[in-house]
């Protein structure tokens, strides 16, 4: 009986304590499952109180004596391996990056500017997603955005394709200029290095002036 009791202690207790619901790797979860299923972060003090009030969580009448910290885990919409890592890293950061770049662009342009958006990326689908995110962000700020960007001649595109993007964009801007109206600006979004996970932006005006947005 004692042996049975000890044996069950060996098995049951650590299993329970390792936390069936704990998102950490352990007896129930491998490290790979942990990072592909959910993204967790620790909320402490003020962050936790803010989050609980957002969710209309009522404070305990005698205070939060036991619950001092909160682990917040968000399930991933797409599993980690669904998209290539460089694409995933860029797209997962879009919601944070695009509004910031759009705000910076708006600071450099007059109020009634009509916007055209052009995104550059090796993968046309990714470029389209980036451009759509920028168009949405501008629309949310009640700005007018053209759905399509100007179509350049074959010679301009061919010349551009042999250049570094940082050297080519100011030249390409001169080509775009003839397609832009007086109150139109082209917002270009691109990566300088394909191994980075951030976007850079530049503005092109109807006079062919290229401005870096930082």
């Amino acid at each position: 009986m004692l042996i049975f009791y000890l044996a069950s202690l060996y098995v049951v207790v650590p299993l329970i304590l390792s936390g069936i619901f704990d998102p950490a790797p352990g007896l129930f979860r491998t490290a790979r499952e942990t990072s592909s299923d959910a993204e967790c972060r620790l909320l402490t003090g003020e962050q936790m109180r803010r989050r609980l009030s957002e969710e209309n969580h009522e404070a305990f009448p005698r205070g939060e004596i036991m619950n001092e910290d909160l682990m917040e885990c968000t399930g991933r919409v797409l599993p980690m391996a669904e998209r290539r890592a460089p694409v995933e890293s860029l797209l997962s950061g879009l919601s944070a990056q695009i509004p910031e770049l759009v705000r910076t662009a708006k600071l450099r342009a007059p109020e009634k500017t009509l916007w055209r958006i052009e995104a550059f990326h090796d993968d046309p689908l990714v470029a389209e997603k980036v451009a759509t995110a920028a168009k949405t962000s501008l629309s949310e700020l009640r700005d007018s955005v053209f759905d399509q960007s100007p179509v350049l001649g074959v010679s301009a595109v061919a010349a551009f394709s042999g250049m570094k993007i940082t050297e080519g964009l100011p030249i390409l801007c001169r080509e775009y200029a003839s397609h832009l109206g007086q109150n139109e600006k082209l917002l270009a979004l691109f990566q300088i290095n394909p191994a980075e996970t951030q976007l850079h932006a530049g503005l092109c005006t109807h006079t062919g002036d290229w401005q870096w947005l930082l």
């Binding site: 000890l6 202690l9 060996y10 098995v11 207790v13 650590p14 299993l15 304590l17 390792s18 704990d22 998102p23 950490a24 790797p25 352990g26 007896l27 491998t30 490290a31 790979r32 942990t34 990072s35 993204e39 967790c40 972060r41 620790l42 402490t44 910290d69 980690m80 890592a85 460089p86 995933e88 890293s89 860029l90 997962s92 940082t166 100011p170 990566q191 300088i192 290095n193 394909p194 191994a195 980075e196 996970t197 951030q198 850079h200 290229w210 401005q211 870096w212 930082l214």
Partner: protein, 259 residues
């Protein structure tokens, strides 16, 4: 009476010995496991001069800071960067800015007393290279220990483990050559330490039957995985900061041209 005391002492001795059976689990939180676009290559940081400053604090002793900076320095040098460790001194400053210095020529100087605090990076610049200063600091944001498990641990001869949790934060600030902050990122890591024979036995069984070699949890896996995650994220941050610096340089050059 004597026999009972002896038994209790033996129990205490046995349990104390078993308390060495600790299994540490590493749980990466938030951004430290975000996907990366950078791949390890000798040319990733070909034109980069990087200064690493590991700040000594309650969590990072000077020995740990030395180890961390030394480890990162070797990692970046293997990718083609010129790396300096510690705050700026005038001799290194000149070397850092010399356009003729080949990558890899620079010596890595590690000194325990140079890690305290951080100063503004080099003022003199050469436009050919990307000059970055990375400041690393760490702090413990959470430590939780379930005291009642300690009692059960002793009475169960360590079948019931003691569970202790730590959550640490690693802050990385990367500055450009004029001291402008290009990146400021904080990574969180959680460590759960299970002490006791019960958990150790189950973990050993799980390692043997279910986990691949890369996923095994053993005595040094937590530290190894955390270091690997941190190095990978640092590489990505350095590259992103470098490209941002390049954009700033191009804008400055354009503005200078207009004037």
């Amino acid at each position: 009476m004597l026999g009972r005391n002896c038994a209790l002492f033996a129990l205490f001795l046995a349990t104390t010995t078993l308390s060495a059976c600790a299994t540490v689990v590493y749980h990466p939180l938030g951004a430290i496991r975000q996907p990366l676009a950078i791949e390890f290559s000798e040319n990733n940081f070909k034109d980069f001069s990087i200064r690493l400053i590991c700040e000594v604090g309650p969590l990072l002793t000077s020995q740990n800071a030395n180890m961390l900076c030394g480890n990162l320095s070797a990692h970046f040098e293997a990718q083609g960067a010129r790396v300096f460790v510690g705050p700026v001194d005038s001799g290194e400053d000149a070397e850092l800015d010399s356009p003729n210095t080949e990558a890899g020529e620079a010596s890595v100087k590690i000194s325990q007393d140079t890690f305290v605090g951080g100063r503004a990076p080099a003022k003199k610049t050469s436009d050919r290279n990307i000059h970055l200063t990375a400041e690393l600091s760490a702090k413990r944001v959470r430590h939780e220990q379930h005291g009642w498990l300690g009692i059960l641990f002793y009475y169960s001869l360590s079948l019931i483990p003691i569970v202790e949790e730590f959550t640490d934060e690693q802050r990385i600030i990367i500055r450009g050559k004029d001291g402008i902050v290009l990146k400021d990122e904080t990574f969180q890591m959680r460590f759960i330490e299970y002490t006791g024979l019960g958990y150790m036995a189950l973990n050993a069984a799980a390692n043997f039957f279910f986990r691949s070699n890369a996923e095994q949890i053993n005595e040094d896996s937590a530290g190894r995985q955390m270091t690997s995650d941190l190095r990978a994220q640092m590489s990505q941050l350095i590259l992103n900061a470098g490209m941002r610096q390049q954009a700033i340089l191009m804008e400055s050059a354009q503005n200078a041209g207009r004037k």
